[in-house]
Every structure is written in C-alpha cells, then in structure tokens.
Amino acid sequence: MIWDKKHETMPRGELTGLQGQRLRAIAQKVYNRVPFYKSKFDALGVKPADIRSIADIAALPFTTKDEMRDVYPYGLLACPLSDIIEIHTSSGTTGKPVVDAYTRADIDLWGESMARTLSMGGAGKDDILQNAYGYGLFTGGLGAHYGAQRIGATCIPISGGNTKRQLDFLRDFGSTALTCTPSYSLYIAEAGREEGIDFEKLPLKRGFFGAEPWSDNMRAEIEEKLKIKAYDIFGLTEIIGPGVAAECECQNLLHIFEDCFYPEIINPDTGAVLPDGEKGELVFTTLTKEGTPVIRYRTRDITYLTREPCPCGRTSVKMHRILGRTDDMLIIRGVNVFPSQVEQVLIKAEGVEPHYQLIVDRRDNLDCLEVQVEMNETLFSDELKVIEHKEKEIEHQLKEALLVHSRVKLVEPKSIARSEGKAKRIVDKRNI
C-alpha cells in the first residue's frame, strides 16, 4: 500500500519543483538562524537567494560528522529550544555524539516517513508489530514505534535483547511483523530453531531490517529461516533516524523519501556530484526538518542512485543498499575491501552461514587478511582433503571478488563473538 500517494507518486517535474522550493526555504532558514551554517555559507560566498532550484544545491557547503560533533550539543538548532520536544543522539562511541533535536512537526515527519516505510512492506492497522529495535537514544526503537502507531498497527515495544522473551512474544502474541537489525533476526531464528520452534506455524509475515549492512544472500537466509518477507530499511540519526529510505514490495533497491530527504552521490575525494548509476558517497539534505536541519550531510556510506521507474508506481529516486563505508572500508594493499563482498562469497560457497570475521594484520610491512569462517555441517567432512578443498575454493572465490589474497581459517561453531546488536565483522590489528 502507498501511504502518502500525493508525495510518493508525484510526477518528477512537480517533485523537483517542490524540492527546489523547500531547499530555498531551508537554506534561508539555516542562514538566518544557525551561525554554524551562516559562516559556512559565507566562507563559500553563497547566499540563500542564490538557490533557485534543486540543481543549485551543489553550490551549498557540505556538513561532516566531525563538524556536527564540534557544535555539540545545541549548535545545529534552528529553532528555540522550547520548541524541541525530543532529542536523540548517535552512539558517540568514537567521540562526542551527534545531536538530533525534534520539534513536534519533526516527530510527525518521522512518524509519516516510518509509516511510508512500514506500508511499503505491506504492514497496516491489522498488524501486530514486535519492535525489537533498542528503545532509547538510539533512533531505531522510537522511529519504528512512531511509524507503527501512525499506521495503526499494534506495537509491542519489546526493545532489543532478551531473545527468549522475543520468542515467547512471537508465539504468544502472534506478532505478524518484526523490526530489528538483520543480524539479530538471524540470532532470533537460530535461538528459535534450538528451542524447536517451527516458524512456518507462527503468524509472522514480514520484517523490517536496518541499522547495519546486509546482503541479498542474508535476506534469503532470513526469509528462509523465519518464513517471512524481509525488507531493507535505511536511515541515519544525523538525518532523522530510520525512515529515510525503504524497499517496496519489489524488494529491489530502496525508495528515498526525497521530498523530505534529498540525496546526492559525490566523489568522496573531490566532492563533485556524480550522475545516476555511479558509485560514490551518499549525501543528504533535510528539506523540511525544523529542529536540526542538515545541509549536504556526508554519510560516508557508499552507494548509487537510479531514477528508473519502479513497477510499484512510486516516482521517487531509488538507492542500492549501502555497498560499504568510506571509513569502515578496509584498504588492504591499496585495494578497497568491504565485508559485504566477503559475505556474498561465503554464502555462495556451499552451506556456509554468514558467521565470519575479517582479521587484518601487517607482517613484514605487508597487509594480511585472514577470513575466519565458522565450520558447519555442510562444510564438514570426515576427510581432511574434502575440507581442505572447500577451504581452497573459498580462498579462490575471495581472491576473485576482492582482488587481494586472503587466508581462510575454519573455526569451531560459535567461536566468533556475536552480539545481539551489530555484528563485529572487522578486527584491524594494524597499527598505522
């Protein structure tokens, strides 16, 4: 179902007109009200009046995560603090957190964009939505919560963790929709299987997964194990939280809610805007946010955009799921390596579940990549040569995909640390 027909199916000409109008207003607003942006505009010699259409966005300055941290806590506020009704922050594990402050209109916007997201995957007022995203400062929990309430679903705010209770609730309350990180959904599936739960018999129909990178293969595994349709959803705390982009029933690329969150792809080195189809760094501008509007935020996520029409009837631009991070991206002997590439290879290799870890080290001034893979029943054999053959085969496939040599190390099941939130995929031991 299309939640907001007017905006989601707006003819492109009309849409770009609306974007231009909104960009001009937001540029004017941040210039007048946020000293941080006024000085950035002035440094580039650009005035809000220079913005006449959405194409003029390239004249505006970028905003980086570090800059947003520098003005912590209230430096991005574009309205009186008394108009703010809620505050979220990024995790701040690598420094001061980024603050996202919401006015009442911003919370409405958030609920609307999450309502679009959930409707895209077929959720509606008859759904019982088990929200296993963490509640709190993390935007996942409350974002999904506001969306669920907006579509009139029955929201169970169970939050993350306590897998035993997750399983009990799935069974006892007959949840039809699940929202959590993709890796946690697999964790739930695994725990359920150990408990002897037949997911075929549960009413669970659909899941909305995001907040960490995953792949089509992982989707296939989730759908097979939980017997559901798994939708990719995307968002960032710096922009609003979840509800920036989501997959429709076609499950082929994510529609960006570009009437509110305008995307660009740039060359991360030069800042030049790249045409549709080319991979680069994803950049977002909030066109309608009141509390903490952001101009051209550099996400450090790598993807590409396409404006080819979608069979679902929505006219919005679509993005490929995130292909990697400019900062998480491993550079091994000068070659860019993303964990997602490794994951694709491992799942294609016979029967290997995606429990793996990349260990990067430097020996004799040379980068070495070790890929630890947990042994499973399909890969195991009583004959050493059969295991060794499969190990070599995976190494070969990894070489093909990554273009750098790696060493595969088979390890015992459950020996790679799993957390209930994000899976740790990379251990970089290089001291550079």
């Binding site: 029943e377 060794e388 459950k414």
Partner: protein, 143 residues
C-alpha cells in the same frame, strides 16, 4: 555390513579433545577406537563408539560439528604381511582407500582394521567374496 564412525571438527587448541571426551563420558559413551587427522589449524577426530547415535546428539548439544559415516571393520589375523595382503586385494579390485586405522582386539587377539572407502558397498562385497569377516555395527560396539 558396515560400522558407523563419528567424526568431529576440532580446532588445534589446547583442551578441545578433553572437552569431547568429557562430553561423552558424562553420557556413558565408550570410545572403542580413535584417530586424529590434522592440518595446520584444525583436525578431524574419528571415533568408533558403543552408541553412535547418542554420541552424535551429545556432541552436537555440546556445540561440536559432527558427522556420521559408514566404515568397514575388517577382522584379520594379527600376523606379519597381513596389511600387504589387504593392500594387494584393494589394488587388484580397484578399491580406493580414503584412510584406515586399526586396533588389536584383546580377547581374540585379532586385529580390526577400520577402513573408509569411496564406495563402501563395493568394498564390502570384495572383502566378503575373499573370505574376510566384517564386523557388524553391533559387534563393533561391543569390542
């Protein structure tokens, strides 16, 4: 007439073998014969036990990756040259031995060879046709 062998994936780190034996001991599993094949980082532990089905489920519960495979348990006299005779027989019959290990049965003084072939059934026939006695699964559990 073949015997079920259990194989277990083990990383080469201290204490893993004793984890296996501890898990089995608690459930009254008796290991009759055992061998380990090793590579640099891991090994495959192969065992003949008195109750393969229970052993498999116990080890899986303990978190190990486990497999059950048929092997032949060939009873031979414990005498010089017997291994050579067996190799000749397999060579002539075109049987491919993946691996084998043996032990001496204490009561009868006979040697038991546990042999893993690419094709267990074909091998079984060759040994039977040439007058060798193959231990049944029940007998192997009792040795």
């Amino acid at each position: 007439m073949n015997v079920q062998q259990i194989s277990v994936f083990l990383e080469n780190k201290a204490g893993r073998l004793s984890d296996v034996s501890a898990a089995l001991k608690d459930d009254g599993i008796n290991i009759r014969a055992l061998t380990i094949a090793e590579s640099a980082n891991y090994g495959v532990l192969r065992m003949i036990v008195n109750n393969p089905d229970v052993a498999v489920s116990v080890l899986k519960t303990a978190g190990f990756v486990v497999k059950k495979n048929p092997v032949l348990a060939v009873e031979v006299d414990d005498r010089e040259g017997i291994l050579h005779d067996i190799m000749n027989l397999c060579g002539t019959a075109g049987l491919n031995i993946e691996y084998m290990y043996s032990f001496i049965e204490q009561v009868s003084g006979k040697a038991i060879l546990f042999m893993r072939f690419e094709g267990t059934e074909a091998a079984e026939k060759v040994f039977a046709d040439n007058g060798f006695r193959l231990l049944s699964a029940e007998e192997a559990c009792l040795i």
